[in-house]
Symmetry: C2
Subunit: 234 residues, 2 copies
């Protein structure tokens, strides 16, 4: 890092792509903007980083403040930074984007000063330009792609599930996020065969219909070997 050049001042923000599965569809969390610019439009939850605050901390704080969602125990990771000079009409801004994955929460959305936060299907949010403020459509697209690819080789899929879950629930995560149908038998064998991916709890789910499924919790391993492949399983 050179120190010879004078440095222009930037604003630094964090924005989060928060994904969950509701009603068999992948949803993302968005807020309605209260002020200019892009007033009234949808945007990813986020805000300015404080002076003495770490980037990760800022992402978690903004999420709680704007949407009431705490990602304690859930998955959160940095997605990338977005700094096109014209991305914010007010000033030069760089946004550090995060990806978070949470279970389907019982509508616990709407935090302290969250005017309103809503879940919307990702496909709908991405459908046309201008639906999201700033470059948030690009960020959402990248977050979706990150989640899709990380399903292959990491245990991120379990973050969509409650603390204990059935293999069928986990399979549905893969089916919804990848948009494919998977063979139930092969999927069961696969995920229970990868060491440290899921651990049996000994308990059983009590379904409306059909044989009760065994309940699992997420395992210690976050990386899957061998990976599940998006192209192969069905």
């Amino acid at each position: 890092m050179a120190s010879r050049t004078k440095h222009p001042p930037f604003a630094v923000t964090v924005d989060a792509v928060v994904l969950t599965i509701r009603a068999q569809r992948l949803h993302a969390l968005v807020v309605t903007r209260g002020g200019e610019p892009f007033q009234g439009q949808l945007a990813l939850p986020g805000g300015f980083v404080h002076v003495d605050e770490d980037l990760d901390t800022a992402a978690r704080r903004e999420l709680v403040e704007e949407t009431g969602i705490s990602v304690r125990g859930s998955h959160i990771e940095q997605l990338g930074s977005y700094g096109r000079p014209d991305r914010d009409p007010r000033m030069r801004t760089v946004s550090v984007a995060y990806l978070a994955v949470v279970p389907d929460l019982p509508e616990a959305v709407g935090g302290d000063d969250a005017a309103d936060a809503h879940w919307h299907p990702v496909t709908w949010l991405l459908a046309r330009r201008g639906r999201l403020a700033f470059d948030h459509r690009d960020i959402l697209r990248d977050g979706l792609e990150r989640a899709r690819s990380k399903l292959e080789y990491s245990a991120i899929g379990t973050s969509f599930c409650p603390p204990t879950f059935t293999i069928a629930q986990l399979r549905q995560v893969y089916e919804v996020v990848w948009g494919v149908k998977l063979d139930a038998g092969n999927f069961h064998r696969k995920v229970t065969g990868v060491r440290g991916f899921v651990e049996p709890t000994g308990k059983k789910a009590t379904p409306e219909v059909g044989r009760p499924a065994e309940l699992f919790r997420r395992g210690k391993n976050n990386s899957l070997h061998p990976a599940l492949t998006r192209t192969s399983l069905s």
Copy 2:
């Protein structure tokens, strides 16, 4: 992104992990810092982003200015952002880090105002704390890990090679970066079998000794299916 909070001013920099292979070892590009802080210490090449400049553009510009290296045609991608509040003693700074991979250049290092830029073995640079300024050791570590994992499923390995190369050269990239020995025969079959990874040129290399190898150039595909796996090959 909320606009209700006042935003503190940040400095935004770009820093680059530039990797190449020299003398059978993985090397990274570093500069010696001319000014405070960390004067005289080694650092990754980088500098402040200009007011009207895209982040990617800034990374490329700083690389040319500080080291004389142009990544035209080479691989460059964003690695992540580093913004610990105490990472720069002068002011609050966020650095957007990039990973670049270049062929072994004929010592073309040392640009306009590059006091001096040097290649050093990555293992040596990472060996102990304090060898690199700021949090550049963390960034270098992350860049190395990114390169290692991307060898598996992307064609990034060809970026270490000149425009045309033999399969043995490409194999050496994998061996050096992963720190393993690979079976020459299986590797050859594998990489020539993945569609769009490498394309034959019809020409032959003229080695000191042994049978001349066919020369290839990189193919169109940047993603490898099926992937090479770090654990399997050998």
